[in-house]
């Protein structure tokens, strides 16, 4: 099975080289855990490797995300956008069909191979009830796999530590789940992550700390929490 590197040092090693191609992976975490940065790094590093990507933003304006990322990291995201290697797309937030149209157009017309949806939690607003949401989510993830894209979808969680983790129906449907934490240690917080689930491949079961520096996210494999 072909693996797609996420472009996050340390995490790709935890996954034995990356995530299986055409899989849908959830990146779950509380506020400030680095979900959006994770998604942008996946696309930016992919663009540098010659794989076009699309960032579908359901919450923040994509222009603001680009500004924040340009300020926080040493990446040249705007250059990749200018070249057409990175599409930043805003969605009418209460219309599921429009969102799928954007994804489909990005993939079929612009030959995008990597997609980030930020955040799937907002998708719930498109549906009347949990049953419709589950059906819509399943259709979406299945569709993405069928058109040969590898997808990262972020999920907002109300917790920041592992002990408080609660799983929703999204985690059961997706092919993979990566959890991001912001754990208290003495008088500060430490960012950490674990791979909770990844169908089709073996993966590390340990929790590792990670840092967000000027070059992006970086998992510190030499430390185990």
């Amino acid at each position: 099975m072909k693996k797609i590197p996420l472009g996050i040092p340390g995490l790709d090693e935890m996954l034995g080289g990356g995530v299986p191609e055409n899989h849908s992976i959830l990146v779950c975490g509380g506020p400030g855990t680095g979900k959006t940065s994770f998604g942008m790094q996946y696309l930016y590093k992919g663009a540098l490797m010659g794989e076009k990507g699309a960032f579908i933003s359901l919450e923040q304006k994509s222009k603001r995300i680009v500004e924040d990322v340009q300020n926080a990291f040493s990446w040249n995201v705007e250059e990749e956008i200018e070249k057409g290697n990175l599409l930043m797309l805003d969605v009418d937030r209460y219309n599921f069909q429009n969102m799928i149209d954007l994804v489909q157009s990005s993939v079929m017309h612009h030959k995008v191979k990597r997609v980030v949806i930020d955040t799937i939690t907002m998708l719930r607003l498109f549906f009347r009830d949990d049953y419709e949401f589950r059906k819509g989510l399943f259709n979406l993830l299945d569709f993405l796999s069928s058109i040969n894209v590898t997808t990262i979808a972020t999920v907002e969680k109300p917790y920041s530590v592992r002990e408080e983790a609660v799983f929703g129906l999204e985690e059961f449907i997706a092919d993979g789940v990566i959890m991001l934490y912001n754990m208290p240690k003495k008088n500060q917080r430490i960012r950490a992550l674990e791979v909770l689930k990844m169908r089709g491949t073996d993966h590390s079961k340990s929790i590792y700390p990670f840092q967000i520096a000027s070059d992006g996210l970086n998992v510190l494999l030499e430390e185990v929490l």
């Binding site: 222009k63 009418d92 954007l102 157009s105 259709n139």
Partner: protein, 260 residues
């Protein structure tokens, strides 16, 4: 796919202009139908002799109770129609012809106007994709086809202004036989509203019984693709706001651009 309407059949084509003297009917613009409102239901009389009862965005189970409540009025209207047209049938016979309307891939003659081969083929493909691939995939297939048509038209013709784009789209719809495309002026538009389009005699849905689905994903995506290509931006959305499939008598589409 199931139509969510209850339909009676007069058994013959009729001249709707003779029924306009029944003052409770009104003619819908650009369509071969008369409608009247009946205790929350819509009663539509078509030139092919069918009398269709439905409620916008309601399925058959939900309208059945209203039909019972309105049964005397329905009988009375059918009697009026028979008398006005001089038909040699009884209202009782027409009432007994009533059935829940079912659509299938072989059921294309819901609205017997001039349908050419390509319309039959197009609708067959549309309904077959719903039957075999399911709603979601069928919608995606139509969207892909429409988007490609819209983008290609703009790439070839290279319109230089929005007015030119709209003229191009009108001609495209005529040339392809998709229906009569026109623009709708909105008094209070939003800054992101690019255009509102109306399609009469839509090739995809004109005359279709209400199926609680908007059917014209190909048209919707064609408009979206055309604007996306014209403006060189992807954050364009197109929504179908009226469709025969939802019980309307024409199609309407709104095209918006979102933040670049």
């Amino acid at each position: 796919m199931k139509a969510e309407a209850f339909t009676y059949d007069l058994g013959t084509r009729i001249d709707l202009s003779k029924l306009e003297k029944l003052n409770y009917f009104r003619r819908t613009d650009n369509s071969d139908a008369l409608v009247t409102d009946l205790k929350g239901l819509t009663l539509m009389v078509l030139s092919n002799g069918r009398i269709r009862l439905f409620e916008h965005e309601r399925d058959f189970e939900q309208i059945r109770d209203k039909m019972l409540t309105a049964s005397i009025e329905i009988y009375s209207i059918i009697e009026d129609i028979i008398k006005t047209l001089g038909l040699k049938v009884s209202a009782k016979q027409i009432i007994s012809s009533g059935r829940r309307e079912e659509l299938g891939t072989d059921d294309l003659a819901l609205f017997e106007r001039k349908q050419n081969l390509s319309t039959h083929v197009l609708r067959s493909l549309l309904f077959a994709s719903y039957d075999l691939a399911g709603d979601f995939q069928a919608e995606r297939i139509s969207t892909q086809a429409g988007e490609q048509i819209g983008r290609k038209a703009v790439k070839i013709k290279k319109p230089q202004s929005k007015e030119e784009l709209i003229r191009l789209l009108k001609k495209l719809f005529d040339d392809l036989g998709l229906g009569k495309l026109s623009t709708v002026e909105r008094e209070k538009g939003s800054v992101t509203l690019e255009a509102v389009f109306r399609v009469d005699d839509c090739a995809l849905c004109s005359g279709v019984a209400p199926v609680n689905k908007k059917l014209c994903n190909l048209t919707r995506a064609l408009l979206r693709g055309a604007f996306a290509e014209f403006k060189h931006m992807e954050s364009i959305t197109a929504n179908e706001t009226k469709c025969w499939g939802m019980g309307d008598t024409y199609c309407e589409f709104e095209v918006y651009s979102l933040a670049k």
